[in-house]
Every structure is written in C-alpha cells, then in structure tokens.
C-alpha cells in the first residue's frame, strides 16, 4: 500500500472516532482506564530520563562554556531553555512513542487478530469510538502532564548535578533559572506536547486497528508504528519550530 492509501484510511479512522457513545458510563470507564495505563504507567520512565537528561545538560553545558567571561549562572539559563524547549517535549515524546505507541498498537492488534474487535462490532458497538477515542483522549490529557513533570524533574536534575559535581552552587543555579524567563517557551512546549500526543496515539492506533494476519504481524506493525510516530514527531517538531518560534 502506498502513502496515500494509508493516509486516507488514517483520516477515515479519525473521522470514524466521532460517534455517539452507546453507553457513556462504559466509555468514561475505558477513558479512565487508559489514563491510568498511558499516564501513570509511564511516569517512572519519564522521571528517570528527565532527571538524567537535565543532569547531563548541566555537565555538558559547563564543559562547553569554558570562557571566564560568561557567568556560571548562564549554565542554568541554558539548561532551563533546552529542557523546556526541546528535551522535555521532544525527547520524552520520542521515548513515549516507544512505550505507549507499541502498547496501543499491540493491544489493538491482538484484539483485531483474535476477532475481539469483530465481536464488539457484532454487538453493535462502534469500535473506532470505543477503542480508539478513549486512548487518544487519554494521551492528549496525560502526555502534556508528563511533559510538564519532565520539565520540573529535568531542571531539578540539572540543579542537582551542578552541585554534586561542583560546577555551580544551587543558589547560583536558581539565580540563572529566574533570569530572562519567557513564559511563551512553556506554551510552545505544550503545543508540541499536544501535537506529539496526538501523533503517538493515532498513528499507533491506526497500525494496531488495521493489522491483518497473526502474532507475527502484530509485532511487525507495532514496530512500524513506533518508527512512523518517531519520524512524524521529528517532522512536526521542525515544522512547529519554523512556524512558532
């Protein structure tokens, strides 16, 4: 299948997602379940990468800023901006594409292959709405939250690494942190987070929902979904930066 067939089918899936729920209560339950799967399920990995990413940025920034003319607190400013602008939204979402994307794709793929999706259809349930919509909505709600948590932890990790390796004291770091802060950067990061959350959830749902074949194809399509989401995220990252910065 070529790009346009995939894209058309993808758009039709998105369109099919919007229909009246047969039973609002069950849909809400499914949404809550997905929030916990997607959001709470990924907090651990997000925390780990954020702390280390912040720590490494502090160490590497100080390594690159050798000039004595530049005050130490600038390190904190640079760490803050890279974490907020790029590391937290993009890097975290790339990792989440692997964690959440493969989970969504293999869950839906398994349901497709074992005819569970057909069983739902036969009951008179719109499976695109029941299975895909809550995942997309949960991703849109929780991924930006994870990104915000990641920003905080990233900066904190940088602050900790700064004092632990004797590069700059926490007080200097805090001074740098407060300097020239542009709230727009956070807005921009959140716009990115929403976009990436949409990409991750819909692309992986697409690859899972339309799996044909058996267990082998489930694995294959969950890999494809991760690769495609990552490429799309990077592409969107560039486009958003070009438009909004």
């Amino acid at each position: 299948m070529n790009f346009f067939t995939h894209f058309g089918k993808y758009i039709l899936m998105l369109k099919g997602m919007f229909s009246r729920p047969e039973n609002a209560k069950l849909y809400w339950k499914e949404f809550m379940h997905q929030c916990s799967e997607i959001g709470i399920g990924s907090i651990g990995i997000v925390a780990i990468i954020s702390v280390f990413m912040g720590a490494v940025s502090t160490v590497q920034t100080s390594y690159q800023l050798v000039s004595p003319l530049i005050p130490l607190k600038t390190i904190a400013t640079i760490v803050r901006d890279t974490v907020i602008l790029e590391f937290s939204p993009t890097l975290v979402c790339i990792v989440l594409a692997g964690v959440i994307g493969s989970k969504i794709a293999s869950e839906l793929g398994n349901m497709r292959v074992s005819e569970q999706i057909d069983a739902l259809e036969i009951m008179g349930i719109n499976t695109k709405t029941y299975l895909v919509m809550p995942k997309v909505a949960a991703a849109l709600l929780t991924i930006p939250m994870l990104v915000v948590i990641s920003m905080v932890l990233g900066i904190y990790g940088g602050r900790f690494a700064g004092s632990a390796s004797g590069i700059l004291s926490p007080e200097t770091f805090d001074t740098g942190l407060m300097e020239n802060f542009m709230p727009y950067n956070v807005t921009f990061a959140l716009i990115k987070a929403y976009t990436f959350a949409f990409i991750i959830s819909t692309v992986s749902a697409y690859y899972g929902y339309y799996v044909k074949g058996g267990a082998l194809e489930i694995g294959r399509s969950s890999t494809t979904s991760v690769v495609v989401s990552c490429v799309m995220i990077l592409l969107a990252d560039y486009v958003l930066a070009a438009i909004l910065l």
Binding site: E22, N23, M111, S114, Q116, D118, M123, G124, N126
Partner: protein, 266 residues
C-alpha cells in the same frame, strides 16, 4: 428469518462463495455444513456484515441488510448474538465480565440484576463457578461455552454460532447443541450454526445447508439426510463405516424393520 440470494465472495482469485442462496428460518436451528475450508465461516461473516460480499442480497425479516446504513446495521446488530470460531473473548476481562459486557453496554439494569442474569446463562452452559477466571486460565472448550453465554445473554433475535462444539467432548457437545436448540425454540430465534459435527446434524438439523465448492450442494433436514442419495453429501456426512452402519440402521428403523430398541421385526 434471514434470506440471502446469490452471495458471492472471492479472495484474490480464489472463489470461496460462488452464488449461494438460502432461507434461514425463524425458530429453527439452521445448519451450515461443509468440509473444512468450504466457506462456512466466510458465509456467516457475510451475513452479519463482517465481510462485505462481492455480490448478492441479504434480507433480515424483510429488511434489506445490504442496503442498510452503518447506523441501521449497528441497531440491527444489537439483536444479533455471535459465537466466533476462536471464541473471541475479551482477554483483559474475567469470564463474568465478558458475559456481563453486553448487559453493561446496552441495559440499565442494576448490578445485582446483571449478575443474576450472568450466573443464569453461565449455569446453562455448565460453567457456574468459573466467574472470576480469565480467558487465559480456561480450556478451549470452556472458552467456547463462555462465548455462547456472552452471545445469548441479551436474548438475541438472531444467533450465529461458528462451530459451537468443536473441541468439546461428546457429552458437553450434546449439551451445548441442546442448549442452543432449546433457546432457539424458547425465544423463537433465528439460529445459524456452522458445524461439521455429525451428532449436531442428526440431533438438531431442522434446516441444513450443505456447502461444497462455494455452492449450495444440498438442503433438507436431519430426516431427509438419511435418505438422500447425493453422493458427495453421503461421503461427507457418513464418512466412517460406523456412521454408514448407523445410517442404514436409521433407514431400517424408519421403514419399520427395526424397533427403537434395536429388535428386529418381521
């Protein structure tokens, strides 16, 4: 009543259904029989719209299913129960939740009422006591029975069963056949059963459609089948010597030469 005319389906250049027409009667067990790979599953899926046929028309109680919109089909499907060949249980849910799911989705009953109904149907399929088990923890035959329980929990008007008793021992198999047959009569359902089980054919075959080479090769009921001289059907149904003997016995019985206890008369 489900009537279908000239159903055709091919995958690539493999013709699976080459124009099949038949009427599935209300209040009867309508059997689709045929060798493995003859297209029974494909035909059943065409009838419920999981596979779009290439050609032909399907009519549910006088309403054309073929021409229905997606929404209309959705509404009709709330009256359809279906057992899949591979059971298709939701593997993230316990047995109880699987059976309860349609009730949760489409009724406003209280939890107690729903659980009562769930236990009722689980009992009918001889599975009371397995409520909290997960599909991965039960045997293939048990999965089949949970699948049946889930299919009948809402008392559907149309019941589709794809090989309800493959993988079951003869005794349970008979029990399941009887269960499906009884509820069909009790609730006047239109029941369509795919099978290649000889016992089912003889026990519950009210209206049998024999598929071969993508065509309707023979049709009739379990009495007609004994006297049929269709060679292909005979070879398929009465495959073993034992079954041949059984068939001849029935023939003699029907002609009054043998009594019901096997005693030979005149």
């Amino acid at each position: 009543m489900i009537e279908f005319r000239n159903i055709q389906k091919q995958f690539g250049d493999k013709v699976v259904l080459a124009g099949v027409s038949h009427v599935m009667e209300t209040g009867m067990a309508n059997l689709i029989i045929g060798t493995s790979g003859s297209g029974k599953t494909v035909l059943q899926k065409c009838l419920v719209g999981l596979i779009e046929p290439d050609d032909g028309e399907i009519i549910y109680d006088g309403r054309s299913f073929t021409e229905m919109s997606h929404e209309e089909r959705k509404l009709l499907r709330q009256q359809i129960g279906m057992l899949f060949q591979g059971s298709a249980l939701f593997d993230s849910m316990s047995v109880e939740d699987n059976v309860k799911f349609p009730l949760d989705m489409f009724t406003k009953d209280t939890l107690a009422a729903k659980l009562k109904r769930v236990n009722e149907v689980l009992e009918r399929v001889n599975l009371s006591g397995s409520n909290k088990k997960f599909p991965s923890e039960i045997s293939g035959g048990m999965k089949k029975r949970v699948g049946i329980a889930r299919a009948i929990v809402l008392n559907p008007k149309f019941l589709f069963c794809d090989e309800p008793n493959s993988g079951l021992d003869p005794q349970t198999s008979l029990l399941i056949d009887k269960l499906i047959y009884d509820i069909t009569k009790e609730f006047n359902m239109t029941t369509i059963i795919n099978t290649h089980d000889m016992n089912s054919v003889m026990e519950i075959g009210d209206n049998i459609l024999y598929l071969a080479a993508g065509k309707k090769e023979w049709t009739g009921n379990s009495k007609d089948i004994i006297f049929s001289d269709n060679k292909q059907l005979n070879e398929f149904i009465f495959a073993s010597e034992f079954l041949q003997d059984a068939k001849n016995m029935r023939k003699l019985e029907a002609k009054g030469h043998v009594g019901p206890d096997g005693e030979i008369k005149g």
